[in-house]
Symmetry: C4
Subunit: 291 residues, 4 copies
Amino acid sequence: MSEQSSHKTWRTKLHEIIYEADTPAGKLFDIILLIAILASILLVMLESIASFDEKYHTILNISEWVITILFSIEYIVRIISVNKPLKYILSFYGIIDLLSTIPKYISLFLAGTHALVALRALRLLRVFRILKLARYLGASNQLANAIKASRAKIAVFLFAVLIAAVIFGTIMYLVEGEEHGFSNIPKSVYWCIVTLTTVGFGDIAPETPLGQFIATLIMILGYGIIAVPTGIVSAEYTKASGDKEGKYSDEEHEHIKDLQLNTQCCVNCLAETHQDGAEFCHKCGCKLHHD
Amino acid sequence: MSEQSSHKTWRTKLHEIIYEADTPAGKLFDIILLIAILASILLVMLESIASFDEKYHTILNISEWVITILFSIEYIVRIISVNKPLKYILSFYGIIDLLSTIPKYISLFLAGTHALVALRALRLLRVFRILKLARYLGASNQLANAIKASRAKIAVFLFAVLIAAVIFGTIMYLVEGEEHGFSNIPKSVYWCIVTLTTVGFGDIAPETPLGQFIATLIMILGYGIIAVPTGIVSAEYTKASGDKEGKYSDEEHEHIKDLQLNTQCCVNCLAETHQDGAEFCHKCGCKLHHD
Amino acid sequence: MSEQSSHKTWRTKLHEIIYEADTPAGKLFDIILLIAILASILLVMLESIASFDEKYHTILNISEWVITILFSIEYIVRIISVNKPLKYILSFYGIIDLLSTIPKYISLFLAGTHALVALRALRLLRVFRILKLARYLGASNQLANAIKASRAKIAVFLFAVLIAAVIFGTIMYLVEGEEHGFSNIPKSVYWCIVTLTTVGFGDIAPETPLGQFIATLIMILGYGIIAVPTGIVSAEYTKASGDKEGKYSDEEHEHIKDLQLNTQCCVNCLAETHQDGAEFCHKCGCKLHHD
Amino acid sequence: MSEQSSHKTWRTKLHEIIYEADTPAGKLFDIILLIAILASILLVMLESIASFDEKYHTILNISEWVITILFSIEYIVRIISVNKPLKYILSFYGIIDLLSTIPKYISLFLAGTHALVALRALRLLRVFRILKLARYLGASNQLANAIKASRAKIAVFLFAVLIAAVIFGTIMYLVEGEEHGFSNIPKSVYWCIVTLTTVGFGDIAPETPLGQFIATLIMILGYGIIAVPTGIVSAEYTKASGDKEGKYSDEEHEHIKDLQLNTQCCVNCLAETHQDGAEFCHKCGCKLHHD
């Protein structure tokens, strides 16, 4: 696009490949990373199947080490290629990227038979690798806005549901009692939420006629209130998409689209959502790179 | 705001702290009360867990007495600080505030081994403390209006669902019979509501081919009608939020916001939702206090 | 309202009491009938509880005979008080009114121990008494219109759901097989609908990893498509309430309200929804009675 | 409509009968085909019921051969009556039409006791006959458009649900462990989707207090997010039906209706949705036939 692309440093190029997806190299890197993340999730899953782990333990272990080392290299390169590494390290994705590599290293020192339970918790952290996927979901701003706008109302609503669950849970504990599985109030509240949300596992179920009658009331209540969050999101979403169409002119509309498609990311401050023809970062004034 | 705040009586000050949340002292009181209510709910829950109650019975009992006495003091102070105590005592929150303290006192006289079952019912009443929480949820008027507007329609709808449940429940009782768990019509109706609301515990499930076929019809019916209350609330909510935006000008809109943020409460008649600069109660003409 | 009310015949008066609810006598009759219907439903329910039926068999039996005879008298009076009795007998409510009385009489001739199973089917018919309730639900036209407007689309949708259920049901039958409860395709299709509608009894559940994977797909599909009928009804309902407000002027609107409140019913042809000041039936030209 | 209908060839006539439903013969053919497809599905279902298959094996087998041969003839006639047979063979319905006949023929060569498992898979394919039904559902374009418009957003949403299921599934695996049925991560993820979609089989259920607490969070999350796809479809559908009414004039509206009712299908390229008075195919210019 301009002449400065010729005298780009290797760091700028690395930044472009790793953080952006506009160039062919950047796109390829993102796709490979996506496959690696999915493969690592699959490995964790397969390892958890006892019969499979017994047979292929060595292969699974080696594959995991390979992916862990690749993720570690990626993490280091990400730190190197930004001007303010601390900003990346302390960012949401920086922490997740770190959490997705260290558990495997810690498992080296905490190995042995006793560390098995500790390893379980470490495994848990490794799953956060998956959150990397979210980065590739792209912007579905309209949906996000609808959820954000109805967040407060849904919180109020969920709080009301929780109060109802506590009250009905206590009533059911008194009515059904320990002998029918409602052994304490927390368990009764758990059952009540299972019922209100229409999940209905059936691991606990009322057996006395009065208990079944109250359960009927809870279910009809749950059925009635399932309508509320749906109605809120639906209305907010209709409004959000209506506003968008009404407020912006065609020119502005196109501009919004460009913003969403552009994956440029400032080398200095990691700010995103730059305008398409922008030469400088809108947040720190640092020069952006073009091809 | 004006000079009369200097010669406020202690009663006016108490009223301001307890009933309103505009002053720092009032805010602090509300937060402490909220924590106390949550703690008391937690205590009731922990007490219901047999293994926990055995170990820490004395601590739980003492903690509950502390909270009960605190709630009693709060109740008395609330009565003292209003001009018309009877109005508070007979109000919704007045009754709940009383119900959340007396069961513990009654348990003193009704103690003994035989009163155990009675105590259960008393415990139930103590849970009404939770309803105090509702006071702190604030006004989500728009949501409340949408629900209020669709209340009648949802009632008609729920009535139709109940009729369907009774008819299908009787049919299932005749088809499946006692040997498959459908031991009487009320139980069959209970199962039918469990199915129509898509809860599906599975404690009772049809076993004959004909019964399973009818169950399929009930489920598809339930699936189809789950759409109705959702559609009603959704439409009413869209209308409610549309009306609000259309009907009020910007100035009025701001005024509405102020009303919601203002927690002033008349000393005489407990009326709420006063205008921000109001000097007198809009209901009884009694002077409001300002800082 | 006019002078002809003075020389009303007893038949016209009966018609007014039984078919209409505008006069105090008519209202009283409807309320008594409603209570009688609810009582008869309660009786059928109580009779089905074995332990209850044993104890109070005689009382239940007598009560049922009383209600059956009352319903029979009501049925005969309804026939007498109309000009064209056949029109009533062959109408929807005429058939239901008959079906809610005859089973008890038939049980006299078919009594004995062998007739028990036959009686079950007769009981089933007696439940249709409940449908009488529908008459008292009044007009919730807006809701009815929304459902009517989306009826065709929901039918197409439900048909698509059925096809999906048949295909996935067959796949699950092949994958899971008889040993895991999927003993034949109809049962498998039943399970599939249980899953698609998010009821999930758990009486049959996939046990093979492949079966659980396909079940996951079915559930996500069910979760995704639960949105469709809801969206349709919601949109149609919004449109219906929007149209109503837009199309009719205030005057017309009031007129519609009157129509709904008026319960006049032609003595000759049983036509309903007459205008408030109407002197003659809009369908057969027969004179309407006023007070 | 014009004079060329008199010198139609038999091939054009066949095409008209088989592919279109405008003539009485075409309508009759479609109805017979629909009944044949439904009968064949019923046969497959009945065959899968062991007790039924034992009794009526011969009748079921003969009936299936009759239907298979009829479908084969139909398939051949369909190929003959089009100008470009390959286009039909490779089309969606062409492949389904083939798949619904060959499994029965292959079962001849692969018969024997060992082929039983293979036959199962063949049976699976035979079910694709059902997809033929879709052809007769007609155009519910508005609904299809709403789903198409919200497809991308629902995909993003479902992807987010899957990530949540993987994370929560792993947490539940670590918390509950093998002894409570959460024997490996894939199974745990399966349970998590069962819970998030509010299906709730209950074949696996959390038993530890911590597990039940996390399950509660998952259920409330599931309850909250059930609103999102519903809101999207609802909003898109409202927009779709709004656009349709706004954009098109009455004249155009009528024209759209005609397009939907017309079942003309080009003899040459199988293109559909021709205008009512059209003489030539809008895609390949080939002459259309009229009566």
